[in-house]
Chain length 246, copies 2
DNA sequence: CGTCGTATTGAATGGGTTCAAGTAGCGTGG
DNA sequence: CCACGCTACTTGAACCCATTCAATACGACG
Protein backbone atom coordinates (compact mmCIF):
# COMPACT_ATOMS: atom_id res chain seq x y z
CA UNK A 1 0.00 0.00 0.00
CA UNK A 2 2.74 2.40 0.98
CA UNK A 3 4.70 0.98 -1.90
CA UNK A 4 3.12 3.50 -4.27
CA UNK A 5 5.49 5.96 -2.64
CA UNK A 6 8.48 3.63 -2.79
CA UNK A 7 7.77 2.94 -6.43
CA UNK A 8 7.64 6.62 -7.25
CA UNK A 9 10.84 7.45 -5.41
CA UNK A 10 12.62 4.55 -7.07
CA UNK A 11 11.77 5.88 -10.51
CA UNK A 12 14.65 8.23 -10.13
CA UNK A 13 17.20 6.49 -7.97
CA UNK A 14 17.38 3.05 -6.41
CA UNK A 15 16.67 2.99 -2.70
CA UNK A 16 18.59 0.65 -0.42
CA UNK A 17 16.66 -2.30 0.94
CA UNK A 18 16.90 -0.71 4.36
CA UNK A 19 15.51 2.60 3.19
CA UNK A 20 12.60 0.82 1.60
CA UNK A 21 11.86 -1.24 4.67
CA UNK A 22 11.94 1.68 7.02
CA UNK A 23 9.32 3.43 4.92
CA UNK A 24 7.13 0.40 4.42
CA UNK A 25 7.16 -0.63 8.06
CA UNK A 26 6.68 2.75 9.66
CA UNK A 27 3.52 2.94 11.79
CA UNK A 28 1.26 4.47 9.16
CA UNK A 29 -2.41 4.91 10.03
CA UNK A 30 -4.76 4.68 7.10
CA UNK A 31 -8.04 6.58 6.84
CA UNK A 32 -10.63 6.91 4.11
CA UNK A 33 -12.36 10.08 2.96
CA UNK A 34 -15.30 10.73 0.66
CA UNK A 35 -15.12 12.88 -2.47
CA UNK A 36 -14.98 16.71 -2.29
CA UNK A 37 -13.91 16.77 1.34
CA UNK A 38 -11.24 18.96 2.94
CA UNK A 39 -8.45 16.83 4.37
CA UNK A 40 -6.38 19.76 5.57
CA UNK A 41 -7.40 23.38 5.95
CA UNK A 42 -5.45 26.58 5.74
CA UNK A 43 -4.04 27.69 9.11
CA UNK A 44 -4.18 24.18 10.54
CA UNK A 45 -1.12 22.74 12.22
CA UNK A 46 -1.02 19.03 11.42
CA UNK A 47 0.92 16.72 13.70
CA UNK A 48 1.31 14.03 11.09
CA UNK A 49 2.54 13.76 7.54
CA UNK A 50 0.05 12.39 5.04
CA UNK A 51 0.55 10.11 2.07
CA UNK A 52 -2.16 9.71 -0.52
CA UNK A 53 -2.41 5.98 -1.24
CA UNK A 54 -5.53 5.90 -3.38
CA UNK A 55 -7.67 8.38 -5.30
CA UNK A 56 -7.29 11.97 -6.47
CA UNK A 57 -6.86 15.13 -4.43
CA UNK A 58 -5.89 18.76 -4.95
CA UNK A 59 -4.46 21.74 -3.14
CA UNK A 60 -6.29 25.02 -3.30
CA UNK A 61 -6.44 28.51 -1.95
CA UNK A 62 -9.51 30.57 -1.25
CA UNK A 63 -9.00 34.28 -1.92
CA UNK A 64 -10.55 37.20 -0.16
CA UNK A 65 -12.53 38.01 -3.29
CA UNK A 66 -14.31 34.68 -2.94
CA UNK A 67 -12.56 33.03 -5.86
CA UNK A 68 -10.71 29.78 -5.64
CA UNK A 69 -7.43 28.73 -7.20
CA UNK A 70 -6.47 25.09 -7.42
CA UNK A 71 -2.71 24.82 -7.01
CA UNK A 72 -1.98 21.26 -8.00
CA UNK A 73 -3.41 17.80 -8.33
CA UNK A 74 -2.28 14.76 -6.38
CA UNK A 75 -2.43 11.06 -7.10
CA UNK A 76 -1.51 7.91 -5.18
CA UNK A 77 2.08 8.06 -4.00
CA UNK A 78 2.12 11.80 -3.33
CA UNK A 79 2.93 13.23 0.07
CA UNK A 80 0.33 15.90 0.65
CA UNK A 81 1.56 17.84 3.64
CA UNK A 82 5.30 17.84 3.76
CA UNK A 83 4.90 21.60 3.80
CA UNK A 84 3.28 21.57 7.19
CA UNK A 85 6.04 19.26 8.43
CA UNK A 86 8.59 21.86 7.41
CA UNK A 87 6.64 25.05 8.00
CA UNK A 88 4.30 24.03 10.84
CA UNK A 89 1.25 25.88 9.54
CA UNK A 90 -0.74 25.15 6.39
CA UNK A 91 -0.92 28.16 4.09
CA UNK A 92 -3.46 26.48 1.82
CA UNK A 93 -5.99 23.66 1.93
CA UNK A 94 -6.04 20.12 0.56
CA UNK A 95 -9.26 18.53 -0.60
CA UNK A 96 -10.26 15.21 -2.12
CA UNK A 97 -11.68 14.96 -5.62
CA UNK A 98 -12.62 11.28 -5.59
CA UNK A 99 -12.96 8.98 -2.59
CA UNK A 100 -9.43 8.50 -1.26
CA UNK A 101 -7.35 6.67 1.26
CA UNK A 102 -4.64 8.51 3.13
CA UNK A 103 -1.85 7.12 5.32
CA UNK A 104 -0.75 9.23 8.27
CA UNK A 105 2.53 9.17 10.18
CA UNK A 106 3.40 11.35 13.21
CA UNK A 107 5.86 14.16 12.57
CA UNK A 108 8.23 12.88 15.24
CA UNK A 109 8.48 9.46 13.68
CA UNK A 110 8.89 10.94 10.24
CA UNK A 111 11.62 13.33 11.43
CA UNK A 112 13.54 10.42 12.96
CA UNK A 113 13.45 8.56 9.67
CA UNK A 114 14.56 11.59 7.70
CA UNK A 115 17.49 12.33 9.99
CA UNK A 116 18.64 8.73 10.08
CA UNK A 117 18.29 8.11 6.35
CA UNK A 118 19.74 10.98 4.35
CA UNK A 119 19.22 9.09 1.08
CA UNK A 120 15.56 8.76 1.75
CA UNK A 121 15.33 12.37 2.85
CA UNK A 122 17.03 13.38 -0.36
CA UNK A 123 14.59 11.36 -2.43
CA UNK A 124 11.63 13.04 -0.76
CA UNK A 125 13.27 16.40 -1.08
CA UNK A 126 13.72 15.74 -4.76
CA UNK A 127 10.11 14.76 -5.05
CA UNK A 128 9.11 18.08 -3.57
CA UNK A 129 11.35 19.82 -6.08
CA UNK A 130 9.44 18.13 -8.89
CA UNK A 131 6.17 19.35 -7.46
CA UNK A 132 7.61 22.84 -7.36
CA UNK A 133 8.75 22.53 -10.97
CA UNK A 134 5.18 21.70 -11.96
CA UNK A 135 3.95 24.68 -9.99
CA UNK A 136 6.29 26.92 -11.94
CA UNK A 137 4.98 25.58 -15.21
CA UNK A 138 1.44 26.27 -14.07
CA UNK A 139 2.43 29.79 -13.16
CA UNK A 140 3.90 30.36 -16.59
CA UNK A 141 0.84 28.87 -18.22
CA UNK A 142 -1.70 30.90 -16.29
CA UNK A 143 0.36 34.04 -16.65
CA UNK A 144 1.17 33.80 -20.32
CA UNK A 145 -0.93 31.25 -22.20
CA UNK A 146 -4.34 31.53 -23.80
CA UNK A 147 -7.25 29.54 -22.43
CA UNK A 148 -6.92 27.11 -25.32
CA UNK A 149 -3.22 26.66 -24.62
CA UNK A 150 -3.70 26.25 -20.90
CA UNK A 151 -6.31 23.55 -21.20
CA UNK A 152 -4.31 21.67 -23.80
CA UNK A 153 -1.21 21.92 -21.69
CA UNK A 154 -2.94 20.62 -18.60
CA UNK A 155 -4.25 17.61 -20.49
CA UNK A 156 -0.76 16.83 -21.74
CA UNK A 157 0.60 17.08 -18.23
CA UNK A 158 -2.06 14.87 -16.72
CA UNK A 159 -1.60 12.19 -19.32
CA UNK A 160 2.18 12.10 -18.95
CA UNK A 161 2.02 12.13 -15.16
CA UNK A 162 -0.51 9.35 -14.96
CA UNK A 163 1.34 7.26 -17.50
CA UNK A 164 4.49 7.67 -15.43
CA UNK A 165 2.52 6.53 -12.38
CA UNK A 166 1.28 3.51 -14.30
CA UNK A 167 -2.30 4.75 -14.09
CA UNK A 168 -2.99 5.42 -17.77
CA UNK A 169 -2.58 3.76 -21.10
CA UNK A 170 -1.48 5.20 -24.42
CA UNK A 171 -4.06 7.90 -24.75
CA UNK A 172 -6.69 7.49 -22.06
CA UNK A 173 -6.69 8.43 -18.40
CA UNK A 174 -8.87 9.41 -15.50
CA UNK A 175 -9.66 13.07 -15.04
CA UNK A 176 -12.23 13.28 -12.26
CA UNK A 177 -12.82 17.02 -12.55
CA UNK A 178 -15.87 19.13 -13.20
CA UNK A 179 -15.53 22.00 -15.63
CA UNK A 180 -15.74 24.39 -12.69
CA UNK A 181 -12.75 22.67 -11.11
CA UNK A 182 -10.83 22.81 -14.33
CA UNK A 183 -11.56 26.52 -14.37
CA UNK A 184 -10.32 26.95 -10.81
CA UNK A 185 -7.13 25.14 -11.71
CA UNK A 186 -6.53 27.18 -14.84
CA UNK A 187 -7.69 30.60 -13.75
CA UNK A 188 -10.69 30.52 -16.09
CA UNK A 189 -14.45 30.67 -15.71
CA UNK A 190 -16.34 27.40 -15.97
CA UNK A 191 -18.29 28.77 -18.92
CA UNK A 192 -15.20 29.47 -20.92
CA UNK A 193 -13.70 26.10 -20.07
CA UNK A 194 -16.84 24.61 -21.52
CA UNK A 195 -16.49 26.49 -24.79
CA UNK A 196 -12.84 25.60 -25.22
CA UNK A 197 -13.53 21.95 -24.48
CA UNK A 198 -16.11 21.93 -27.20
CA UNK A 199 -13.64 23.41 -29.60
CA UNK A 200 -11.07 20.75 -28.74
CA UNK A 201 -13.69 18.08 -29.29
CA UNK A 202 -14.91 19.62 -32.52
CA UNK A 203 -11.33 19.64 -33.79
CA UNK A 204 -10.99 15.97 -32.93
CA UNK A 205 -8.10 16.54 -30.53
CA UNK A 206 -9.64 15.05 -27.42
CA UNK A 207 -12.69 13.45 -25.94
CA UNK A 208 -13.75 14.17 -22.39
CA UNK A 209 -16.66 12.23 -21.07
CA UNK A 210 -17.50 11.81 -17.44
CA UNK A 211 -14.21 11.36 -15.69
CA UNK A 212 -12.30 10.00 -18.68
CA UNK A 213 -9.94 11.95 -20.88
CA UNK A 214 -9.13 10.52 -24.27
CA UNK A 215 -6.37 12.10 -26.31
CA UNK A 216 -7.11 11.44 -29.95
CA UNK A 217 -4.36 13.59 -31.44
CA UNK A 218 -1.35 13.84 -29.17
CA UNK A 219 0.78 15.87 -31.54
CA UNK A 220 -1.91 18.43 -32.01
CA UNK A 221 -2.58 18.70 -28.29
CA UNK A 222 1.09 19.05 -27.51
CA UNK A 223 1.45 21.73 -30.12
CA UNK A 224 -1.61 23.59 -28.86
CA UNK A 225 -0.31 23.67 -25.32
CA UNK A 226 3.32 24.30 -26.20
CA UNK A 227 3.98 21.25 -24.08
CA UNK A 228 7.49 20.00 -23.33
CA UNK A 229 7.62 17.28 -20.69
CA UNK A 230 11.09 18.23 -19.42
CA UNK A 231 9.73 20.08 -16.39
CA UNK A 232 8.02 16.93 -15.11
CA UNK A 233 11.38 15.22 -14.67
CA UNK A 234 9.96 11.79 -15.36
CA UNK A 235 12.18 9.05 -16.79
CA UNK A 236 12.07 9.49 -20.60
CA UNK A 237 10.87 5.94 -21.11
CA UNK A 238 7.50 6.77 -19.64
CA UNK A 239 6.78 9.70 -21.93
CA UNK A 240 4.16 8.97 -24.56
CA UNK A 241 6.30 9.86 -27.55
CA UNK A 242 5.09 6.72 -29.15
CA UNK A 243 1.51 7.85 -29.44
CA UNK A 244 -0.24 7.52 -32.72
CA UNK A 245 0.43 10.76 -34.60
CA UNK A 246 -3.12 10.79 -35.85
CA UNK B 1 29.56 37.12 3.16
CA UNK B 2 28.02 33.66 3.28
CA UNK B 3 26.48 34.70 6.54
CA UNK B 4 23.50 36.19 4.71
CA UNK B 5 22.44 32.57 4.30
CA UNK B 6 23.20 31.63 7.89
CA UNK B 7 21.26 34.64 9.10
CA UNK B 8 18.26 33.71 7.02
CA UNK B 9 18.24 30.08 8.13
CA UNK B 10 18.59 31.11 11.75
CA UNK B 11 15.49 33.24 11.54
CA UNK B 12 13.51 30.11 11.97
CA UNK B 13 15.60 27.79 14.10
CA UNK B 14 18.94 28.13 15.77
CA UNK B 15 21.77 26.33 14.00
CA UNK B 16 24.48 24.62 16.01
CA UNK B 17 27.88 26.29 15.99
CA UNK B 18 29.18 23.36 13.95
CA UNK B 19 26.45 23.64 11.34
CA UNK B 20 27.19 27.33 10.95
CA UNK B 21 30.93 26.77 10.63
CA UNK B 22 30.60 24.06 8.04
CA UNK B 23 28.56 26.39 5.85
CA UNK B 24 30.75 29.42 6.36
CA UNK B 25 33.99 27.58 5.72
CA UNK B 26 32.96 25.53 2.74
CA UNK B 27 35.07 26.25 -0.35
CA UNK B 28 32.71 28.77 -1.95
CA UNK B 29 33.88 30.51 -5.11
CA UNK B 30 32.52 33.99 -5.58
CA UNK B 31 31.84 35.57 -8.97
CA UNK B 32 30.30 38.86 -10.05
CA UNK B 33 27.75 39.42 -12.80
CA UNK B 34 26.39 42.53 -14.45
CA UNK B 35 22.70 43.47 -14.55
CA UNK B 36 20.20 41.67 -16.84
CA UNK B 37 22.47 38.70 -17.42
CA UNK B 38 21.52 35.02 -17.46
CA UNK B 39 23.30 33.14 -14.69
CA UNK B 40 21.69 29.81 -15.48
CA UNK B 41 19.78 28.77 -18.55
CA UNK B 42 17.01 26.28 -19.07
CA UNK B 43 18.32 22.79 -19.97
CA UNK B 44 21.71 23.46 -18.42
CA UNK B 45 23.16 20.95 -15.97
CA UNK B 46 25.05 22.89 -13.34
CA UNK B 47 27.76 21.13 -11.34
CA UNK B 48 27.64 23.60 -8.48
CA UNK B 49 25.04 25.08 -6.20
CA UNK B 50 24.80 28.86 -6.23
CA UNK B 51 24.12 31.29 -3.41
CA UNK B 52 23.20 34.88 -4.15
CA UNK B 53 25.26 37.03 -1.77
CA UNK B 54 24.53 40.48 -3.17
CA UNK B 55 22.02 42.07 -5.54
CA UNK B 56 18.69 41.05 -7.06
CA UNK B 57 17.90 38.20 -9.42
CA UNK B 58 14.87 36.37 -10.78
CA UNK B 59 13.82 33.05 -12.25
CA UNK B 60 11.90 33.05 -15.48
CA UNK B 61 10.54 30.87 -18.22
CA UNK B 62 10.34 31.65 -21.91
CA UNK B 63 7.28 30.21 -23.58
CA UNK B 64 6.94 28.96 -27.08
CA UNK B 65 4.62 31.87 -27.87
CA UNK B 66 7.51 34.24 -27.22
CA UNK B 67 6.19 35.51 -23.92
CA UNK B 68 8.08 35.49 -20.69
CA UNK B 69 6.94 34.68 -17.20
CA UNK B 70 9.01 35.68 -14.20
CA UNK B 71 8.60 33.01 -11.54
CA UNK B 72 10.13 34.60 -8.48
CA UNK B 73 12.57 37.18 -7.24
CA UNK B 74 15.72 36.49 -5.28
CA UNK B 75 17.73 38.55 -2.85
CA UNK B 76 20.98 38.05 -0.94
CA UNK B 77 20.87 34.84 1.08
CA UNK B 78 18.81 32.87 -1.44
CA UNK B 79 20.05 29.63 -2.97
CA UNK B 80 19.28 29.92 -6.62
CA UNK B 81 19.78 26.46 -8.03
CA UNK B 82 19.01 23.87 -5.44
CA UNK B 83 16.60 22.55 -8.06
CA UNK B 84 19.38 21.58 -10.36
CA UNK B 85 21.16 19.91 -7.45
CA UNK B 86 18.11 17.75 -6.89
CA UNK B 87 16.83 17.38 -10.44
CA UNK B 88 20.04 17.62 -12.46
CA UNK B 89 18.62 19.72 -15.28
CA UNK B 90 17.35 23.30 -15.11
CA UNK B 91 13.75 23.61 -16.28
CA UNK B 92 13.87 27.40 -16.22
CA UNK B 93 16.43 30.20 -16.31
CA UNK B 94 17.85 32.51 -13.68
CA UNK B 95 18.86 36.05 -14.56
CA UNK B 96 20.25 39.01 -12.67
CA UNK B 97 18.29 42.23 -12.29
CA UNK B 98 20.99 44.35 -10.70
CA UNK B 99 24.74 43.68 -10.58
CA UNK B 100 25.17 40.69 -8.27
CA UNK B 101 27.70 38.50 -6.57
CA UNK B 102 27.13 34.77 -6.46
CA UNK B 103 28.97 32.13 -4.41
CA UNK B 104 29.37 28.69 -5.97
CA UNK B 105 29.98 25.34 -4.32
CA UNK B 106 30.46 22.00 -6.12
CA UNK B 107 27.53 19.58 -5.90
CA UNK B 108 29.73 16.87 -4.40
CA UNK B 109 30.89 19.06 -1.56
CA UNK B 110 27.35 20.29 -0.96
CA UNK B 111 25.96 16.77 -0.92
CA UNK B 112 28.54 15.72 1.68
CA UNK B 113 27.50 18.58 3.92
CA UNK B 114 23.82 17.78 3.53
CA UNK B 115 24.26 14.12 4.34
CA UNK B 116 26.48 14.78 7.33
CA UNK B 117 24.34 17.56 8.79
CA UNK B 118 20.67 16.64 8.76
CA UNK B 119 19.75 19.76 10.71
CA UNK B 120 21.31 21.95 8.09
CA UNK B 121 19.69 19.96 5.34
CA UNK B 122 16.35 20.36 7.03
CA UNK B 123 16.84 24.12 7.30
CA UNK B 124 17.58 24.38 3.58
CA UNK B 125 14.72 22.08 2.78
CA UNK B 126 12.47 24.31 4.82
CA UNK B 127 13.77 27.33 2.98
CA UNK B 128 12.81 25.73 -0.29
CA UNK B 129 9.35 25.05 1.10
CA UNK B 130 8.95 28.75 1.80
CA UNK B 131 9.90 29.57 -1.77
CA UNK B 132 7.28 27.10 -2.93
CA UNK B 133 4.70 28.70 -0.66
CA UNK B 134 5.39 32.04 -2.30
CA UNK B 135 5.07 30.44 -5.69
CA UNK B 136 1.63 29.15 -4.73
CA UNK B 137 0.55 32.58 -3.65
CA UNK B 138 1.71 33.97 -7.00
CA UNK B 139 -0.25 31.31 -8.79
CA UNK B 140 -3.39 32.19 -6.87
CA UNK B 141 -2.84 35.87 -7.53
CA UNK B 142 -2.25 35.55 -11.25
CA UNK B 143 -5.09 33.11 -11.60
CA UNK B 144 -7.69 34.89 -9.58
CA UNK B 145 -6.82 38.50 -8.81
CA UNK B 146 -7.36 41.67 -10.84
CA UNK B 147 -4.37 43.62 -12.14
CA UNK B 148 -4.86 46.18 -9.40
CA UNK B 149 -4.92 43.46 -6.77
CA UNK B 150 -1.90 41.65 -8.16
CA UNK B 151 0.31 44.69 -8.22
CA UNK B 152 -0.74 45.74 -4.74
CA UNK B 153 -0.13 42.24 -3.46
CA UNK B 154 3.32 42.04 -4.99
CA UNK B 155 4.32 45.33 -3.38
CA UNK B 156 3.16 44.07 0.00
CA UNK B 157 5.14 40.89 -0.45
CA UNK B 158 8.31 42.65 -1.50
CA UNK B 159 8.18 45.06 1.40
CA UNK B 160 7.62 42.33 3.98
CA UNK B 161 10.30 40.09 2.49
CA UNK B 162 12.90 42.81 2.35
CA UNK B 163 12.10 44.00 5.83
CA UNK B 164 12.54 40.44 7.07
CA UNK B 165 15.90 40.34 5.30
CA UNK B 166 16.86 43.60 6.96
CA UNK B 167 17.03 45.36 3.60
CA UNK B 168 14.17 47.82 3.99
CA UNK B 169 12.84 50.28 6.51
CA UNK B 170 9.28 50.98 7.60
CA UNK B 171 7.83 51.82 4.23
CA UNK B 172 10.60 52.08 1.66
CA UNK B 173 12.53 49.45 -0.20
CA UNK B 174 14.43 48.72 -3.39
CA UNK B 175 12.47 47.46 -6.34
CA UNK B 176 14.86 47.40 -9.28
CA UNK B 177 12.28 46.44 -11.90
CA UNK B 178 11.09 48.02 -15.10
CA UNK B 179 7.37 48.09 -15.76
CA UNK B 180 7.91 45.44 -18.42
CA UNK B 181 9.50 43.19 -15.82
CA UNK B 182 6.68 43.82 -13.40
CA UNK B 183 4.34 42.79 -16.17
CA UNK B 184 6.28 39.60 -16.83
CA UNK B 185 6.10 38.75 -13.15
CA UNK B 186 2.39 39.44 -12.87
CA UNK B 187 1.13 38.11 -16.17
CA UNK B 188 0.24 41.62 -17.41
CA UNK B 189 1.27 43.85 -20.27
CA UNK B 190 3.72 46.63 -19.52
CA UNK B 191 1.16 49.18 -20.67
CA UNK B 192 -1.41 48.04 -18.21
CA UNK B 193 1.10 47.91 -15.38
CA UNK B 194 1.80 51.53 -16.16
CA UNK B 195 -1.84 52.52 -15.93
CA UNK B 196 -2.39 50.72 -12.64
CA UNK B 197 0.74 52.24 -11.15
CA UNK B 198 -0.56 55.65 -12.00
CA UNK B 199 -3.81 54.85 -10.31
CA UNK B 200 -2.01 53.69 -7.16
CA UNK B 201 -0.01 56.90 -7.17
CA UNK B 202 -3.03 59.06 -7.81
CA UNK B 203 -4.75 57.43 -4.87
CA UNK B 204 -1.77 58.18 -2.68
CA UNK B 205 -1.12 54.53 -1.85
CA UNK B 206 2.43 54.27 -3.13
CA UNK B 207 5.25 56.06 -4.83
CA UNK B 208 7.52 54.27 -7.28
CA UNK B 209 10.42 56.22 -8.62
CA UNK B 210 13.43 54.72 -10.26
CA UNK B 211 14.22 51.62 -8.26
CA UNK B 212 12.59 52.72 -5.03
CA UNK B 213 9.19 51.70 -3.78
CA UNK B 214 7.58 53.84 -1.10
CA UNK B 215 4.44 52.59 0.58
CA UNK B 216 2.49 55.60 1.76
CA UNK B 217 -0.63 53.78 2.90
CA UNK B 218 0.08 50.27 4.05
CA UNK B 219 -3.43 49.46 5.16
CA UNK B 220 -4.88 50.51 1.86
CA UNK B 221 -2.29 48.55 -0.11
CA UNK B 222 -2.82 45.45 1.98
CA UNK B 223 -6.55 45.72 1.51
CA UNK B 224 -6.21 46.23 -2.23
CA UNK B 225 -4.04 43.15 -2.62
CA UNK B 226 -5.95 40.99 -0.17
CA UNK B 227 -2.57 40.49 1.44
CA UNK B 228 -2.01 38.19 4.39
CA UNK B 229 1.64 37.59 5.24
CA UNK B 230 1.10 34.09 6.65
CA UNK B 231 2.30 32.39 3.47
CA UNK B 232 5.71 34.03 3.74
CA UNK B 233 6.39 32.20 6.99
CA UNK B 234 8.55 34.99 8.36
CA UNK B 235 8.85 35.49 12.12
CA UNK B 236 5.89 37.71 13.13
CA UNK B 237 8.18 40.33 14.66
CA UNK B 238 9.47 41.33 11.22
CA UNK B 239 6.07 42.00 9.73
CA UNK B 240 5.34 45.68 9.27
CA UNK B 241 2.14 45.74 11.29
CA UNK B 242 3.44 48.83 12.94
CA UNK B 243 3.28 50.94 9.80
CA UNK B 244 1.58 54.28 9.94
CA UNK B 245 -2.07 53.65 9.05
CA UNK B 246 -2.08 56.81 6.97
C1' DC C 1 22.95 67.43 -27.85
C1' DG C 2 21.50 63.16 -29.86
C1' DT C 3 20.30 58.52 -28.63
C1' DC C 4 18.48 54.61 -26.52
C1' DG C 5 15.70 52.54 -23.14
C1' DT C 6 11.81 53.38 -20.23
C1' DA C 7 7.57 55.54 -19.19
C1' DT C 8 3.21 57.60 -20.74
C1' DT C 9 -0.97 58.38 -23.44
C1' DG C 10 -4.88 57.35 -26.67
C1' DA C 11 -7.83 54.50 -29.49
C1' DA C 12 -9.31 50.20 -31.17
C1' DT C 13 -9.71 45.45 -30.43
C1' DG C 14 -10.51 41.15 -28.28
C1' DG C 15 -10.33 37.22 -25.12
C1' DG C 16 -12.64 35.94 -21.41
C1' DT C 17 -16.32 36.99 -17.83
C1' DT C 18 -20.82 37.47 -16.24
C1' DC C 19 -25.52 36.82 -16.14
C1' DA C 20 -29.31 34.28 -17.26
C1' DA C 21 -31.83 30.64 -19.15
C1' DG C 22 -32.23 26.06 -20.75
C1' DT C 23 -30.79 21.01 -21.10
C1' DA C 24 -29.00 16.58 -19.92
C1' DG C 25 -27.81 12.97 -16.75
C1' DC C 26 -28.54 10.48 -12.58
C1' DG C 27 -29.77 8.85 -7.96
C1' DT C 28 -33.74 8.88 -4.71
C1' DG C 29 -38.11 8.07 -2.98
C1' DG C 30 -42.96 7.45 -3.77
C1' DC D 1 -41.32 2.95 -13.11
C1' DC D 2 -41.73 7.56 -13.13
C1' DA D 3 -41.49 12.16 -11.02
C1' DC D 4 -38.52 14.90 -8.60
C1' DG D 5 -34.51 17.41 -7.66
C1' DC D 6 -29.88 17.93 -7.76
C1' DT D 7 -25.65 18.87 -10.09
C1' DA D 8 -23.10 19.41 -14.14
C1' DC D 9 -23.13 20.92 -18.69
C1' DT D 10 -24.52 23.97 -22.56
C1' DT D 11 -25.86 28.13 -25.06
C1' DG D 12 -26.53 33.15 -26.09
C1' DA D 13 -25.82 38.01 -25.42
C1' DA D 14 -23.83 41.97 -23.24
C1' DC D 15 -20.07 43.71 -21.10
C1' DC D 16 -15.38 44.77 -19.49
C1' DC D 17 -10.74 44.26 -18.16
C1' DA D 18 -6.70 44.07 -20.20
C1' DT D 19 -4.04 43.81 -24.69
C1' DT D 20 -2.24 45.63 -28.76
C1' DC D 21 -0.62 49.01 -31.70
C1' DA D 22 1.20 53.34 -32.36
C1' DA D 23 2.76 57.67 -31.21
C1' DT D 24 4.87 60.78 -27.88
C1' DA D 25 7.52 62.28 -23.70
C1' DC D 26 11.04 61.74 -20.59
C1' DG D 27 15.58 61.11 -18.72
C1' DA D 28 20.11 59.32 -18.19
C1' DC D 29 24.29 59.06 -20.29
C1' DG D 30 28.07 59.24 -23.66
Amino acid sequence: MIDCLVRKLEQHKHLSREDQQVLLHAPWQVRSFGPRIDILREAERPVTVALLVEGFACRYKLLDNGKRQILCFHVAGDMIDLHAFLLEEMDHSVATLTPVRVAFLPHGKFAEIMDAHPRLARALWRDMAVETAVLREWLAGIGRRSAYGRISHLFCEVLVKLRAAGAANEQTCDLPLTQAELGDALGLSAVHVNRVLQQLRREGVITLKGATLNVKDWERLKEAGGFDAAYLHVPPATEPESLSPA
